[in-house]
Amino acid sequence: MDTGSVRKFYGWFTVLGLLVGGLVVLGYYKDEYREWRQYQLKFIAEETRRATTPEQKALAAAIPVGVRQIVLPDLHRVDRCTTCHLAVEDPSYGGYPQPLAYHPLHDQHPFEKFGCTICHGGQGRATTLADAHGYVAHWDQPMLPLRYIQASCAKCHEAADNPSAPELALGQQVFEQAGCRGCHKLGGVGGIFGPELDKVGTRRSADWLKKHFLTPAAVTAGSGMPPQKLSEPDLEAVTLFMLSQTGESAPGYYASMRVIPSADEGQQLFQQKGCIGCHSVGGQGGKIGPALDDVGLRRAPSWMMQHFRDPQSVTPGSVMPKFGFTESEARALTEFLVHLKERKVASTLPSLISPIDRGHGTYVKYGCTGCHGPDGRGGVPNPNSKTAELVPDLIHVADGFTKDELKARITNGQREIPSLDPKRPPPPLYMPPWGSTIPEAEIDDLAAYLISLKPKGENLGF
């Protein structure tokens, strides 16, 4: 037996054995000493520093080191943010630098129920700073900048209904009034030129959106969207409103909590749900159900709550349908009805206003403003169109159309817009058919409104 060649093997075994062993140790070390560990040790050190009695010191030293997580099956989330942000529930950590800062709002949104990422975004399952905050490749929802945090309120709350999110409400207002819906669909309502905006908040960053509003072509080559003239606060607000469009809504427990019950919210629900179709207020409205003017004097709030849950359970034989109100919606409606006497709501209810006023609402609601300008004054550029390369104003439609012709035009649209110069590309904007989007009654109102735009007494000049 050649012992020399066997010796050689033992040398190899030693070297390679040490190499593999070293790599295993290195792999273990990388796995065991993860980034979050240093933050937890920092927290334990701070707790120990604060402790005054030996018992407190023992408690601080006994804080377990390990991953912490909030499991939220209804929200399809596991949030491990508290692995590093250990003091979010401890007010005595107010003003501490991150990751040990205290987080207010625990009462309204208990973290053990809501977690963190439902509002802040980021990657809840991750446990490194870069991954968790989401500023890494292949993660599409980085943390929402705090500047725009109100956008997250819209996942549960109506924009207008949350007094803590005024900028969100402003953003929605700007969106509705700037005529965005003329080209973009949101919630199934709007035009067809631009992309739908239902989940725009998950696709676009705040910077992109702001650039897009001011100079659309700079971020989307060939975009036909006209640049928007927005004041700085309006720009920020509408950006925030866009970020709020995530298509995500919270189910179950969260849905039942989402309305902040107030008389204002109640009035809005009262109008939205069409209560006035059966009930009357101030003599206006339907006659099927009882008048509601003094219902607050006749019925206890608890009776009303039960009535909203299940009308037949308190009024056998009632024909009122079960609307499926959530608890907080029912509370808001009750609040509204109790205070009905002092609110003078009759004059603001939608069915009580004139068709022309309603038509104006329709005009704004479906974004006609986007092309035809506020109050039909026109002005959006439409290159190479015969009408002075602008979308025509609507002030004088009454001269060219009967009401029925106008309704037909709105319903069917006009695909071909005559070109000024046949050699140039045809005008990019055209009148889409709105018949499938706007209900007939609203088209009727809209036509009435448009005809009313003609300045009074103008004919007398001829």
């Binding site: 037996m1 060649s5 066997v6 093997f9 033992y10 190899w12 075994f13 390679l16 054995g17 190499l19 593999v20 790599l23 295993v24 290195l26 792999g27 273990y28 990388k30 796995d31 065991e32 991953v67 997580q69 596991v78 491990r80 990657q123 399952r125 991750a126 446990t127 490194t128 991954d131 292949h138 993660w139 599409d140 992309p195 696709r203 971020v219 989307t220 080559a221």
Partner: protein
């Protein structure tokens, strides 16, 4: 001479009551014991007691087959551990990937080891196939073992491909969408095969369930079985190929020619290519330690490389699979990119005819090229014709794969990888 400390410790254990009950021979001291060690141990008996010196030359086999086998073992080990966490559900699979990365002890390391071993195994099985071709080791009597080898190569691709879908991210989803649509180009049976694989017309929960079952049970079991046959045939066909083995082979006397009224021992019935112990004793050495120790060293090297890759490079994980947002271009796994490049010229010719012919040609190769010349020798001059044809096909496959991997950008258009391009803005319209 003092024995090194590990050796004396080992000897103490081996002489104890427990040690003696486990090891029938123990660390061999004499040549007799060296033979007994090989024959009496379950793990070692798969190999011969003595082995030809030529088979031990690192420059001959390059250890490629053994490396593939070791990678297969590592894949089974890491894969089993990953199965403890993985859930084959379109809703949860991606989350389990994230959990492996962020909270499971050594989860990321396991996944990385599994991923890199899988890529390496595809590579080394290909290299092993090339080695066997260039050394003429598929020639008679090893024709059928070559066919089994080709089947093992296809199984390796199948294992890698089915595993590719499991993370359920964008990379997985679109690679499998592209890969299975290539399968769908075959005439008549193509769409049926695709439907059978996916359990539907698109990649969804049914596809994930099927790929999972194939990946963790069906294909490993079949591959393990074929592997056993492959190794068994290596010995039954006369060990590793070597130069001049044709002359070494004892002419086999047909059974019919033997006297029929005599009872025969096993050795007398064995095929003629069984290694002839003692015919050229100076060419042979004892497997213990010469073969076994070399094998152990190779395992340590493979383990070190896989660990090194797994510690420093993470397996990719892209966004959650999104069937309405295809990446542009959507690419198959790298070993199918040559095929995808061919498909971009013609779905039928590139996706069906060329790969079909190549696999058929590989399977039938030893039945046409069966002259026993140039066996056991790299690039034997007498085999220039076969070597030229094989090399042209191999180089073409490599070039197409490189083009498909590096030179193809959006809409499968030509890009030059050294030019850093602005990623095109996502168009919403």
């Amino acid at each position: 001479m003092n024995a090194p400390l590990p050796k004396s410790l080992w000897r103490m254990f081996q002489r104890s009551r427990v040690g003696r009950s486990i090891f029938r021979v123990g660390l061999p001291e004499s040549n007799l014991e060296r033979s007994q060690a090989m024959v009496s141990s379950f793990l070692l008996h798969i190999q011969p007691a003595k082995v030809n010196k030529h088979s031990l030359k690192p420059g001959y086999t390059l250890g490629l087959g053994l490396i593939s086998l070791y990678l297969f073992f590592i894949l089974i080990g890491t894969g089993t551990l990953l199965m403890f966490y993985y859930v084959p559900s379109t809703e949860r699979a991606y989350d389990t990937m994230k959990d492996l990365q962020f909270v499971v002890s050594a989860g990321l390391l396991l996944r990385n080891m599994h991923r890199w071993s899988a890529h390496l195994m595809v590579l080394f099985v290909m290299l092993h196939l090339c080695r066997v071709f260039y050394t003429g080791a598929y020639k008679p009597p090893r024709e059928f073992n070559w066919v089994i080898g080709v089947v093992l190569f296809l199984l390796t691709l199948g294992l890698s491909f089915t595993g590719y879908l499991l993370p359920w991210d964008q990379l997985a989803f679109w690679a499998i969408t592209v890969g299975t649509s290539i399968a769908g180009y075959a005439p008549i049976i193509g769409p049926k095969v695709k439907y059978l694989l996916l359990g539907g017309n698109i990649v969804g929960q049914e596809a994930l369930t099927r790929f999972y079952a194939l990946h963790v049970i069906v294909l490993p079991a079949v591959a393990g079985l074929m592997l056993s046959v492959h190794l068994w045939r290596v010995r039954k066909d006369g060990g590793l190929s070597r130069p001049g083995e044709a002359e070494d082979t004892v002419e086999r006397i047909p059974l019919e020619a033997l006297p029929q009224n005599k009872s025969y021992g096993l050795m007398e019935l064995a095929r003629g290519t069984t290694p002839q112990v003692g015919k050229n004793p100076e060419d042979e050495v004892f497997s213990w330690p010469h073969l076994v120790f070399r094998e152990m060293i190779l395992f340590l090297i493979v383990a070190a490389v896989v660990l090194f890759l797994a510690i420093f490079w993470n397996a990719p994980l892209e966004q959650f699979a999104n069937p309405i947002h295809p990446p542009n271009p959507a690419k198959a796994p790298w070993y199918f990119l040559g095929l995808q490049e061919l498909v971009s010229y013609s779905a039928f010719w590139g996706g069906v005819v060329v790969p079909g012919l190549l696999v058929t040609a590989l399977m039938l190769l030893p039945y046409f090229d069966r002259k026993r010349v140039g066996v056991g020798e790299w690039f034997a001059r007498e085999r220039w014709a076969a070597i030229s044809v094989f090399t042209v096909c191999l180089v073409a496959a490599i070039i197409f794969t490189i083009i498909g991997t590096l030179f193809r950008g959006p809409n499968w258009g030509w890009v030059e990888p050294w030019k850093t391009e602005q990623p095109p803005a996502l168009e919403e319209h």
